[in-house]
Symmetry: C2
Subunit: 209 residues, 2 copies
Amino acid sequence: MVDTKDRLVEGALRVLREEGLTGASARVIAAAAGANQALVFYHFGSVDKLLAEACRCGTEARVARYRERFAAVSSLRELLAVGRELHAVERAEGNVAVLAQLLAGAQTDPRLAPVVADGLNLWIVEIETVLRRVTATLPIADLIDVAGLARAVASAFVGLELYEGVDAAGGTRALDALEQLAVLVEVIDELGPVARRALRAKLRRTGAR
Amino acid sequence: MVDTKDRLVEGALRVLREEGLTGASARVIAAAAGANQALVFYHFGSVDKLLAEACRCGTEARVARYRERFAAVSSLRELLAVGRELHAVERAEGNVAVLAQLLAGAQTDPRLAPVVADGLNLWIVEIETVLRRVTATLPIADLIDVAGLARAVASAFVGLELYEGVDAAGGTRALDALEQLAVLVEVIDELGPVARRALRAKLRRTGAR
DNA sequence: GTCTATACATGGATAGAC
DNA sequence: GTCTATCCATGTATAGAC
């Protein structure tokens, strides 16, 4: 039998997955953990603090699970493949939905906001590392703000996840379209030197900020 | 004095903006509308149904507000400019946050899901129309799934909005990076015919599904 | 650490007066 | 259509026994 405190964290994650933030009460979470309701307050002080801990724990576990996989990526196309696999697995297990629920709740809860930001940041750091590596060889590498792009990718991922929750077919279609767009970037890497130079010149003039 | 039913819808939107979905109870909404709590059930039957109506109404009003602006867009860069203005205004007024709240709630509420999907679809239709127009002249126009891309843009927008709610600086940085990436696509339009042909050939081989 | 019991607030929803 | 009053379920949080 696992520690009760850990079981409560697990229960909180499960409830967030299955019932959403609105259903995440001390009673419901305790029931999901097979524990007594009063223990939520004994171990964590409040429901909010338990949710914060669940966010930290859950995200760390998820990120750790994909760290090796990320490390093996050496091209943009591979990154997309891993991203899609991650999407499928995490969607099936409902883990991204947890972060999405907390992110939505954090909009109006100042106590939750920093914790969720930290959680998202764990993903962003991973993505940023990979992006820096796979874009290093691109002709436009020095014109890309990798840190910004990593943030865009992570948050767009969450948005897509939420969208797919209400329209599965639409979500799949959106992902397919994005994949095409990403191929575009990689293709540029394989263009001739003339086209690359033209692209760079143009980009520096219009895209630099 | 406006109709009470309308005031309740307004109140619901305000509460979703300021308190989030967890705070959207019949009592709180009625108070925000300056109305009696029982009237929520008299006019709408349940809180859920009021929220659904608020989603429909609110989104329709927002989309209508930008229809003219969208119609005037004739290039990808202009679309981005409008997108950024829309982002700034709607963010300041908290309107996208409303859709985000409902989207998060819809993940675990089958009654809310179709309504929110419809609401998001209003945005998607607008974006799709504009995208179809401004990508028509691109050399890779027939290789882009505009409908899918519109869905990706709309949901990514929501994700960015949510992210900015917990990390304002990060959100801005993500938007800047995306803007650079979009310039990339437009720049390809201005490449010479040789590069364009090479791009098309490559894309058709790798990106077509 | 864990349980029962309980106080007390808030929520959904309805009945009935006006 | 609108209000008061009310029922009952659920929620947070604490006290105190074990």
